[in-house]
Amino acid sequence: MTPAAERHLDDDRIARALVSEGALTHPERRHLDDCRACGDRIHRLRTDLERLGAEAARLAPVPSRAPSLPAGRPGTPRPRPALRAWGLGLAAAAALVAALVLSLDTGRMGPPVATVPRTVAEDPEMIEVRMLAENAMPLTYQAISESIEFDPEEAEGFIDFLIPPLEEDVS
């Protein structure tokens, strides 16, 4: 025996030997032919795996009913079920989007857009509201204030009178 053929097979080689003896090298196969210990290991592993499958089958439940098959001959598919499902889904999604857009549009705009400027422009209350928004001072006071000329120095003196500068207090 060569040194390679004398060595026992490790777990990986044992696993390979179990799946396919062709996976082993020639010296390994020769070793396996002669080595009872390695042969026993493979045998034990195979037995364990067979027992595992047998136990699984024994301890798994059994079906309580046979499959029920549809009427008719086998091999006749339904009319493109996937396509039909996609079509229905797309149609439902499109309807939902359309309904959503319409409801948002109606809630936001109210009456048709073209009628809005005319209605607001002709409503006296709306005219007053618009004017107050631009300048809230009553028209009479606006007329008086128009004739007063603004003098920045006078304005500053008036403010100094109301709120004296801080330096004067300190000194």
Binding site: A15, V19, L52, G75
Partner: protein
């Protein structure tokens, strides 16, 4: 005068009931009886195959039903009737994948963990079993779960198909649509991990009931 028989075409000879390929060929040609024979033959195996992957007897019933329904409708498209078994397992595998995908999505909205849910449908908790029987089952499936959790997804699938579902390497490669050498590589690795699963091997080494 003897009554003359009506002239009819010779009916096709009935397929050999033991020959899966012949039954599949007849079913592909619309023979309902042949398909029923195939369903009878494979139903329990497909049911168990699904159970091994869902650990729920109720889910296994429902998914197996879907598998045979789909097979019934699509057998007209089966090219090689000798590969019926691999084709059927492929359908089942796709259904199981769908099931896990849906379960993962549902789990986003549910506080239950995977194992809670599986245990809820697990026959080990069925009340009509004797306590010892329940204990044996629970112990066995816990050991199997521990082993399978150590395997990668492909190793697990290859291992289950080979030793639980008892398919050959060629069939496994067709079910998973991988080359035979890829299947073997994953199988080596899975077996190597099984070798180190000492508690499961001890369990299998005991005198089983």
């Amino acid at each position: 005068m003897p009554e003359s028989k009506p002239q009819t075409a010779d009916p096709a000879p009935p397929p050999d009931a033991d020959d899966t390929g012949a039954l599949a060929a007849a079913a592909r040609n619309g023979d309902r009886f042949a398909f029923s024979r195939l369903a009878d033959r494979y139903h329990e195996r497909i049911y168990k195959m699904i159970f091994y992957r869902t650990r729920s007897d109720m889910e296994a019933e429902d998914i197996a039903q879907e598998v045979f329904l789909q097979a019934f409708r699509s057998i007209g498209r089966l090219k090689d009737t000798d590969r019926f078994e691999a084709w059927l397992y492929r359908i089942a595998m796709n259904r199981v994948t769908d099931y896990h995908r849906k379960k993962k999505f549902r789990s986003l909205f549910s506080p239950l963990t995977d194992w809670d849910r599986e245990d809820a449908g697990n026959p080990t908790t069925a009340p009509d079993q004797a306590p010892v029987e329940r204990l044996v089952r629970a112990e066995f499936w816990a050991q199997v779960r521990e082993l399978l959790d150590r395997l990668s997804r492909m190793e697990r699938e290859v291992f289950l198909l080979r030793f639980f579902d008892e398919l050959g390497i060629k069939d496994i490669s067709q079910v998973l649509q991988k080359s035979e050498s890829t299947v073997k590589t994953h199988l080596y690795r899975a077996i190597a991990k099984f070798q180190s699963a000492s508690s499961l091997r001890d369990y299998l080494g005991e005198d089983l009931p």
